[in-house]
């Protein structure tokens, strides 16, 4: 489990786009670096990210080693009814982590 910060407005207007920001605490080791002994440091990144709202997809992203450490993502979502925003990401070890945030539509 890694630490994740999510910024979502608590209340949003129906059908109006709102911004979601997310910061994942992860080294995103690119696999291009070498340690002090000259050994290659193995790649360890979050390679895939999916965001859904009440089971409808918002977006999915493939991340490559060129994404900076502690990846930050920001995107827009629209909601017609109150529900849950679910964000899932997978790292190079196959570990799946899911974070949720609830949104109230008024």
């Amino acid at each position: 489990m890694v630490r994740v910060l999510i910024s979502v407005p608590k209340r949003v207007k129906r059908g109006e786009a709102f911004d979601v920001k997310l910061l994942i605490s992860h080294p995103m080791e690119s696999g291009q670096r070498r340690d002090a002994m000259g050994e290659a440091i193995p790649r360890d990144i979050i390679n895939s990210f999916v965001c859904t709202y009440n089971d409808d997809e918002v977006l999915r992203a493939d991340l490559f080693p060129a994404i900076a450490a502690n990846p930050f993502l920001s995107f827009a979502v629209t909601a017609e009814q109150s529900g849950t925003l679910t964000m899932t990401f997978i790292d190079d070890h196959g570990v799946v982590q899911t974070e949720t945030a609830s949104v109230t539509v008024e």
Binding site: A17, Y53, L63, F64, A79
Partner: protein, 144 residues
């Protein structure tokens, strides 16, 4: 004069072998091939996509980037970003679903050197659009 010319020639000869000591890097040709594969038979035009990156980058380890497309949301099939001076040129691929609020994504990327970054958007009608930014990187992302 002969001796001076000899010194000049040997002097320049010493400098040449030092030149190819750059770290592994993608090339514009590789990126062009990746984009050609993505675009297929469609033509690639320079409009509708906005790639927002600083022109002067102080620290290549973390560069804020926003890509947006001037199109209806349902029309945007994918956004891809390529950095031709990075060891691995592909940076990001995004596909939008029905609940997305706008065809836009912001993140932070690594840049290994001063280079051209290209964003390509593919629309549902098959048309492809791009934007490019030439930027200068003062401190490169660490690759060694």
């Amino acid at each position: 004069m002969m001796r001076r010319r000899f010194l000049v020639l040997t002097g320049s000869g010493l400098i040449v072998p030092l030149a190819p000591m750059h770290p592994a890097r993608a090339t514009p040709v590789q990126v062009a091939a990746l984009i050609a594969e993505l675009v297929g038979d469609a033509t690639l035009r320079d409009e509708r996509v906005k790639l927002d990156l600083p022109v002067m980058v102080e620290n290549g380890n973390s560069v804020g980037m926003t890509v947006s497309v001037d199109a209806a949301l349902g029309d945007v099939r994918s956004i891809d970003v390529f950095a031709e001076g990075n060891p691995l040129p592909h940076v990001l691929r995004v596909r939008f679903g029905p609940r997305a609020g706008a065809p836009r994504i912001a993140t932070r990327i690594r840049l290994a050197t001063s280079q051209t970054v290209t964003a390509v958007a593919k629309l549902a009608d098959g048309s492809c659009w791009r934007d490019r930014v030439d930027l200068l990187v003062t401190l490169a992302a660490c690759i060694d």
